[in-house]
Symmetry: C2
Subunit: 329 residues, 2 copies
């Protein structure tokens, strides 16, 4: 049988365990061109929360009764596509929170575990790392002289975005929740500084850490963090809006700091990584080199057991994770 | 003597007549390289409100006791610069609300009144028209297939921005306050439609007028108008933030519609026309041709007498003007 975590009800505000249900279903059969993949790891992503809401968005809503959205890395059990054979390792963008999924052979990524271990193909080598790469280089149009601020700077995306900016010669200041995360951002990921947004004088500390202003803001969070960053932006600054995790449950939108968009001539650009597939090969080559040279470091927050995916997810939305959140099935 | 309208006190919220004072001062003497200009027309611009507030912005605040900010067109009375002689007509970006000003010969624009009458060098041929040109073509990166929405669509900037978009083959929908303005936007400026933002079902009417969504939003207003537009934007839509007049007095920033920046991958870009001087010659050539061919039409809202500049300004901030607001000195 295929154990699955399905959406039982749509969350109102922050999700609770009652929004999820563990169910069993027959293991599906691949059709011509398809594979059956047994999941080894599932990636837990904030975007899953976006898909739990109804209404127009950039992606279809998860239906109630459907497996929750997430990428997965697993082992091919049955293949009806010439590119894959049983035993191959594959990464699927739409595997979902379950033990097995069906994938289309022509779109799946075959994973090379000699480059990086399986689970990293959900993190630094997966959608998280690719999102960081696209956002910081293409959307934010990084220049070596930039002062870059990254929110959620120890998260799966933010930690890579900041390290890529460092690799390109930028000054990088992280924002994270709590002293421990800030120490990791500086000590492990090499950020020049990291400010705890929970500090009462957070805006003042951020200003002190960016004496030349901010040229690029890599936005993962929104809310009060954004409202502190925007007034510090330099003229013609760029904001790459990768995520707005603090607003997924109850977004209010920017406060008066929004006005800086006009007065500072900011460019605020939202992006979704799936629009930028043309960069994926270049990303793989770059990340493989940086990782092999030890110039990009990664952390994972591994939860054991599919049944614990909801608590890992809720913990991540509350900032409890340290690094890429994955579930070992 | 030089009659001047000076800032008497900084407005809190909407300006009132008490914030201004008419004073007299000696007519200044030009130094080497300078001109003395006697103002014929003064351009009344929303940006003057921005400069009445203290605190960081894109331009210095007007000091209390200083003439209020505004462009002027006038006649050269004395010249100590080789490019100008008495009797020439000049446009000065910083003439201010007064009868005379000193200008730098090397930066002033000599006005050709055979191309357009004097006052239009404050409107369609002046900063207003140039702002429209830069914003719609360079910042919004106009494409002929775009559906374009312009707020304040009968204003000095919006009316030109919409007409330039029409000249480039776009579908153009205006937003304005009241039926009369909407009729002018369609009947006189050739917009495809214009929606009255005061209508109770304004968001529904706007959606009905843009069945293929909105690709470009030329933003002059902010506030509730913006909050109605953003949810109708198409993927990868572009918002050129030219002004936020409804927020100059008490900005709150975008509401939850802000979220579309992420989900629709919008690019929201603020701009200030003075950053784009490299386009000015191209703009003059284009506007002169369009105007001569009758393809850009203009309206002016002329107030007689310098002493009435404050009421013209307050009226403009309240949307009472129809076309470019100028004061005939």
């Amino acid at each position: 049988m295929n154990r699955r975590i399905v959406l039982k009800s749509r969350p109102q505000g922050m999700p609770t365990p009652e929004n999820f249900e563990l169910v069993e279903a027959p293991v599906p059969e691949p059709k011509e061109g398809e594979l059956l993949i047994k999941h080894d790891y599932i990636g837990i992503v904030p975007a899953a929360r976006l898909r739990m809401s109804e209404g127009p968005s950039y992606a279809p809503s998860t239906l109630v009764g459907e497996a929750v959205y997430g990428q997965a890395v697993g082992t091919v059990v049955k293949s009806r596509h010439e590119n894959f054979k049983p035993g191959d390792v594959a990464m699927t963008l739409s595997g979902g929170w379950q033990e097995y999924s069906i994938g289309q052979g022509k779109v799946l990524t075959k994973v090379d575990t000699t480059v990086a271990p399986k689970s990293l193909w959900l993190g630094a080598f997966g959608t998280s790392g690719f999102t960081a790469y696209v956002g910081i280089l293409k959307i934010a149009r990084l220049q070596p002289s930039d002062t870059v601020v990254v929110s959620a700077s120890t998260g799966a995306v933010g930690s890579v975005a900041g390290q890529i900016a460092k690799l390109h010669g930028c000054k990088v200041v992280g924002i994270a929740g709590g002293q421990q995360k800030c120490e990791i951002a500086v000590g492990e990921y090499g950020f020049d500084a990291c400010i705890d947004y929970r500090a009462t004088d957070f805006p003042r500390q951020l200003a002190a850490a960016t004496p030349n202003g901010i040229d690029v803001y890599f936005e993962n969070v929104g809310g009060a963090v954004r409202d502190a960053v925007w007034p510090l932006m330099n003229q013609a600054g760029r904001v790459a809006v990768c995520g707005l995790i603090s607003e997924y449950n109850d977004g209010k939108g920017p406060g008066p700091g929004w006005f800086n968009v006009l007065t500072k001539r900011l460019s605020v650009t939202g992006f979704i990584v799936s629009d930028h597939e043309e960069l994926r090969e270049e990303f793989y080559r770059s990340m493989a080199r940086w990782f092999a040279e030890g110039r990009v470091r990664v952390r994972e927050d591994v939860t054991q057991g599919l049944e614990n995916a909801p608590s890992a997810f809720i913990g991540m939305l509350n900032g409890k994770n340290l690094g890429k959140t994955v579930v070992k099935v």
